[in-house]
Amino acid sequence: MKRILFLLVLVVPVFGQEPSVDDIVNTYFENTGGVAAWSKLNGIKMTGEFNQGGMKLPFEVVQMKDGKTYTKLSAQGKELRQNVFDGETMWSTNFMTMKPEKADAEATANQKLDSNDFPEALFDYKKKKYTAELLGKEDFEGTQCYKVKLVQEPITVDGAQVENISISYFDVETGVRLAQESEVHQGPAKGQTQQVKFSDFQEVDGLYFPFSLTQGLKGGPSGTITITKIELNPDVTSADFAMPAVEPEPAPAAQESQQGGN
């Protein structure tokens, strides 16, 4: 926190009245640990709980610099992996069969596009040929923010190329990002805006991370992820991301189902 305040004194006056989009993005990374420190980061492991109105669900998320990622959920003593990506294959555990299943080809291809987006898409965005634009100042939930639009590589949705646009809100006062929004392109919420709100920034070995992420549909239902621990450069192996082979179930005795498949 002391570091942040110190940096604010240095950085904020440089903006004057008209900061550029790069001023805003740089300040964000500087105020959260510095570009150099972020560029050295190889991966993070976040442990926490998903909380919806008091109901909690523990999870662990790993994101690596090379794009590998997994989310591990715990419920009733069982661990389920979701949104796992090993660099080529994306998979999740099916809740009914508890067996791994591949994501569809488009989702996998879109995930692959994000492989260069660690620690996040805005980092080094120019090198990735993304474009960022300052859309001006706007209140986000009553707090004045810079509104920045980022355009990444187009994604594929139902066979068609779709622009990949996200909007970030950077707190004018502290320079950190308070929220990010993007359009949902598929599924029943198609056309609606999804939103992630960031808060409770805390330091981990010199880098500042939001320990509270509230995500949901803008104006709709949301849930909050509370992070209890962040480990930098976690020790993982490729086996942590690989889709396991499905072991055949021992043939069960014939039984009459009581639960209809209707």
Partner: protein, 1026 residues
């Protein structure tokens, strides 16, 4: 299947979305923080749509420009729609998609152009360069109504805009405008006169230098409408707007009215125009096949000449120049180049726009007064889109039921009532929330005021101009018309189109209705007395409605003038009655109608004859009232709210320039006299200091016209009748009552909240189709409401709930927004720790309810800790006694503990079994392991899946099922449940006994080998619930 639905949905929700990495002054919108309104629709009758637009190449994309409800987009061919323009004025004239970059560049011209009496205005022209995510105002702020936007397909920086302009006054800001720089600057390239605007503008897509513009001379006043004049005409430019020529060869001489215009995209020398003319025989459809040089009159059918101001829309099939569709009462279509027409199929009447899909002309979309329709067979059969909540309410009222119902009338969609909450949630297609089938119709035509009788099963409902005032007995399904009728000696009664009605706060059978007289009935409308003389200005020059309309007579009754418009009986004294008239009088009686005083002259700063839209008689002081005036029908858009404390002898203005447009209505808070809510033409404004400062409330309340605002006395909900976005409710405004400058100065301030009530909820409810709009229910959970002076960004936050014994019962996520934060707690404890098995025990995701009581809230913000309390109470209407609840709680917690004991038992078995596997594989260890596994096999499922491959349930599943049944109930446990509890308990005890024997053997073997596992102690094990 069904039992899986809820918990799995909760799990799945987590993965539906990717995991991604000042001071509190009275001027700030930050005041309201996370306080959020809910839009309950309905959408079943939808509302008026002004304009439709399609993507030029992607047939899945459809745009709707609603008359009062903003811009909506479909990405699935019109199956479902989402709003994309909610931060801006909701009255839309036209939507345009850039032909060069149609995915990114969109234009919206604001201000509805079908100039009926109830239209509002726009704020200019907007552009988006990011596919509708963000919008920028590009100018033409004074245009009021924009009808057309034409973009050069060869140079999309060149855009032409047809501005219809002001309806109620002269204005130079109209005609055709052009930009060469993508909207940065504009030039007026065609202008006729201050009363003549551009009604239609079309570009030749093959030659963008060629445009056709129809100019229309028109004017509306509060008492008349005039369409047509010598200045109306049709013009053509062949040099991109530099010069314009009148192209009337073939048109009749004399005055013209509104001209609708269309070009055949597949044959651009062919044009169609529909004309309003002096002579009846000249009216209707004209065709030119030489680019407008010559015109031929083809057809004067009813469908082509009906109400030109409302229906002058012509559309040509993109592929066939001889297929033309025309807006109208029913809408009509010609397949022979305009020689003959037939009506479109059955749908809501009053058709304003029609679009043919570019890739298949059989697929078309139709905009009506009652929403959007789709057709797949060229307009023979049509189907309404059920998810466009564009309903245009004029008024709203409520009853005292739980949940309460709202009642109101709509533009051309009759009158309705429906609940503000509706059960559901247990099954797909039965979501919790207000579904279309929850709404009941109680009126036709334009519906206005609707009031429920508070003690009898009666509903009063009025139709346009008090043509009918119904008293509907909903128990007997009996209708009686009760409006006052002229008696011998009476003059013609003048009722406003939006005729005044009011209920008495003192006598349940009393109703007031206003013509030019105030009528009162004390017997639910069976008999009436005239309680006043004519309270209006009674200007005979403004009572010639039979001549209204201009070239086409239009005497619908909508212009009846010199009428009472608002009535208010003081809630503090029934003999104090206020009346406001459309011609600007404010009349008050203090003796129940014997003597009336016109006090409007005492209002300084109010232009004479300004329409008195609403009077709010104060609930705090007998002499206090608020009068709201609406000058828009005179071209005056200033906000006028005045307050008197002395029965109208003196007034002071309390609206100011922070309200950007005119105001229609005001609601005084019944607790805090400084808290006022204004329904304006650009959304909801709130003051917490009696009108010194007004703040827009924007959280889910778009800048839509709000025609009425009410405050519910039991729930403290603010209920808004919007004219374009249905009913919007701001639930429980009580935190706003507690807002003071002192509160705003605090870092953190907890507001007092009403106790949360433990209500029974089955999860069953009505059915809705997949694409049907469902209005959200109120949040009935425990609410923790606090104010933060500043947004929380850095450092940890915690929000913990403790019971009266000091036990931590819940950990919530704190709200971080500047202003008001609302955190909800479902009022549930954590689910029990469940034994680990192969599959999930679905009922094990259920959690016990926190019992009634006072709970302590501890909010940790960085190093600081703030405290408050919340209360949970039992439902006073519950049939169950405290003893019943205690019995339920006892059994619930016994099962809860048994569930956790079983989890620990299985944990021990797993631990010993695993430890034994590390020993040398002797017969003894193998047998012991086998026995442990066999025991485990009776305790939890060890094979199968979570669906139809499920194995037979074991003890864990049976126990969880019983726990799930008991914990979800409200009644004391039943005899079978208690017997079943004994049964599972017997099995559990037997298992414990068996385990005890095996445990001894295991310990002996493991200790001997020095490989005793380190088991977690029970308390620690059950603390981690998952």
């Amino acid at each position: 299947m069904s039992t899986f639905a809820r918990p799995l949905w909760m799990l799945l929700f987590l993965f539906a979305l990717p995991v991604l990495g000042g001071d509190g002054d009275l001027e700030s919108e930050a005041l309201f923080g996370a306080l959020r309104a809910r839009q309950i629709g309905p959408a079943l009758m939808s509302g008026r749509i002004n304009d439709l637009e399609l993507h030029p190449t992607d047939a899945r994309v459809v745009y709707v420009g609603a008359a009062g409800g903003g811009v909506w987009r479909s990405r699935d061919g019109g199956a479902s729609f989402r709003p994309i323009f909610d931060k801006h004025v909701q009255s839309i004239g036209t939507v345009a998609v850039d032909p060069v970059n149609p995915d990114q560049i969109l234009w919206v011209g604001t201000g509805e152009t079908w100039t009926r009496n109830s239209v509002t205005t726009g704020d200019g022209i907007f552009k988006s360069t990011d596919g509708g995510s963000t919008w920028k105002l590009m100018g033409l702020e004074k245009s009021e109504r924009i009808g057309s936007i034409e973009i050069n397909p060869q140079n999309n920086n060149e855009v032409f805009v047809g501005v219809l302009g002001a309806l109620w006054s002269d204005s130079p800001d109209r005609g055709v405008y052009k930009t060469n720089d993508g909207g940065a600057t504009w030039t007026q390239v065609l202008y006729q006169a201050p009363d003549t605007g551009c009604a239609d503008l079309v570009m030749d897509p093959n030659n963008p230098q060629v445009l056709y513009a129809s100019m229309w001379q028109f004017r509306r006043t509060a008492w008349s409408f005039s369409s047509g004049g010598a200045k109306s005409g049709l013009y053509k430019t062949t040099d991109a707007g530099k010069t314009w020529q009148k192209i009337h060869n073939g048109f009749p001489s004399g005055k013209l009215g509104r001209i609708g215009l269309a070009i055949a995209p597949s044959q651009t020398q062919t044009l169609y125009a529909v004309l309003e003319t002096e002579k009846e025989q000249d009216r209707g459809l004209y065709r030119s096949d030489d680019g407008g040089a010559n015109w031929q009159h083809l057809n004067g059918d009813f469908g082509l000449v009906v109400r030109p101001f409302y229906f002058s829309r012509l559309v040509v099939d993109p592929k066939n120049p001889d297929i033309i569709a025309k807006g109208g009462l029913n809408g009509s279509i010609s397949r022979d180049g305009g020689k003959s027409f037939r009506n479109l199929g059955e749908m809501h009447s009053d058709i304003h726009d029609i679009v043919f899909s570019n890739d298949n002309s059989d697929r078309l979309y139709v905009a009506t007064d009652g929403g959007l329709y789709r057709s797949w067979d060229g307009g023979n059969s049509l189907e309404i889109v059920e998810n466009l909540p564009l309903s245009q309410f004029y008024h709203v009222s409520f009853d005292l039921a739980e949940p309460y119902n709202v009642y109101g009338g709509l533009q051309d969609n009759g009158s309705w009532y429906g609940p503000t909450a509706s059960p559901g949630g247990k099954f797909p297609n039965s979501p919790p929330g207000i579904k279309a089938r929850d709404w009941q119709r109680i009126g036709v035509g334009d519906g206005f005021r609707v009031y429920p009788h508070l003690t009898k099963p009666l509903i009063y409902s009025e139709m346009q101009g008090a043509e009918n005032v119904w008293r509907f007995n909903k128990e007997r399904d009996e209708l009686k018309t009760i409006q006052p009728l002229p008696e011998p000696g009476d003059p013609k009664l003048r009722f406003n189109w939006n005729a005044a009605m009011a209920m008495s706060p003192h006598k349940v059978d009393r109703i007031y209705i206003g013509s030019q007289f105030l009528h009162r009935s004390d017997d639910t409308g069976d008999t009436w007395v005239k309680l006043s003389p004519d309270l209006t200005r009674n200007d005979k020059n403004k009572q010639n409605q039979s001549d209204s309309g201009g070239l086409s007579k239009d005497n619908s009754g909508a212009e009846t003038y010199g009428t009472i418009f608002t009535i208010a009986e003081s809630p503090l004294d029934e003999s104090v009655i206020w009346v406001g008239t459309d011609d600007g009088n404010v009349q008050v009686t203090r003796d129940g109608g014997k003597k009336w005083t016109n006090v409007v002259a005492n209002i300084a700063g109010l232009p004479s004859e300004t329409w008195c839209y609403h009077i709010e008689a104060s609930a705090h002081e007998k002499g206090r009232a608020y009068a709201v005036f609406d000058g828009h029908s005179r071209g005056d858009f200033a906000p006028y709210i005045f307050r008197t404390d002395d029965f109208g002898a003196s007034w002071r203005a309390i609206a100011n320039q922070s309200i950007p447009n005119f105001v229609r209505c005001l609601q005084e808070d019944t607790v805090n006299p400084d808290l006022l809510f204004a329904g304006t033409e650009r959304g909801l404004f709130i003051t917490i200091d009696g009108g010194l400062n007004w703040n827009a409330f924007t959280n889910n309340v778009p800048p839509v016209a709000i025609h009425a605002v009410e405050l519910h006395p039991k729930t403290h909900d603010l209920i808004m009748a919007t004219h374009g976005r249905g009913i919007i409710i701001l639930d429980d405004i009580s935190p706003l009552r507690q807002m003071t400058p002192e509160v705003l100065a605090e870092e953190v301030h907890f507001f007092k909240t009403s106790p949360a009530v433990i209500r029974s909820e089955s999860g069953f409810g009505g059915y809705s189709t997949e694409l049907e709009f469902v209005g959200p229910n109120p949040d009935r959970h425990v609410r923790i409401v606090y104010y933060l002076k500043k947004r929380h960004v850095f450092g940890k936050t915690e929000l913990k709930i403790f019971n009266e014994q000091g036990d931590l019962v819940a950990e919530l996520t704190a709200g971080k927004a500047k202003g008001i934060n609302v955190v909800t707690w479902q009022g549930l404890l954590q689910p029990p720790k469940i034994a680990k098995g192969k599959t999930f025990a679905i009922s094990g995701f259920e959690a016990p309810r926190a019992p009634a009581g006072t709970y302590r809230v501890e909010f940790t913000k960085g190093k600081d800790v703030f405290e408050s309390t919340i209360e949970i109470v039992n439902d006073p209407n519950s049939p169950y006694s405290d003893a019943d609840r205690q019995a339920l709680q006892k059994t619930t917690m016994e099962l809860y503990r048994m569930t956790e004991d079983l989890a620990y038992l299985v944990y021990q078995i797993d631990s010993y079994s695993e430890a034994l596997s590390g020993l040398e594989a002797t017969k003894k260890t193998q047998k012991l392991r086998q026995e442990l596994e066999q025991l485990k096999g009776t305790l939890v499922i060890t094979t199968g899946d979570n669906y139809v491959g499920a194995a037979d349930p074991q003890l864990r599943e049976d126990l969880a099922d019983l726990f799930g049944k008991v914990v979800q109930g409200f009644a004391p446990p039943s005899v079978p449940e208690l017997a079943n509890q004994n049964e599972v308990e017997g099995r559990f005890q037997a298992a414990q006994k068996s385990f005890s024997t095996l445990q001894k053997q295991a310990i002996a073997l493991l200790e001997k080998a020095g490989k005793m596992p380190e088991l977690q102690p029970y308390d620690l094990f059950v603390k981690t619930k998952n």
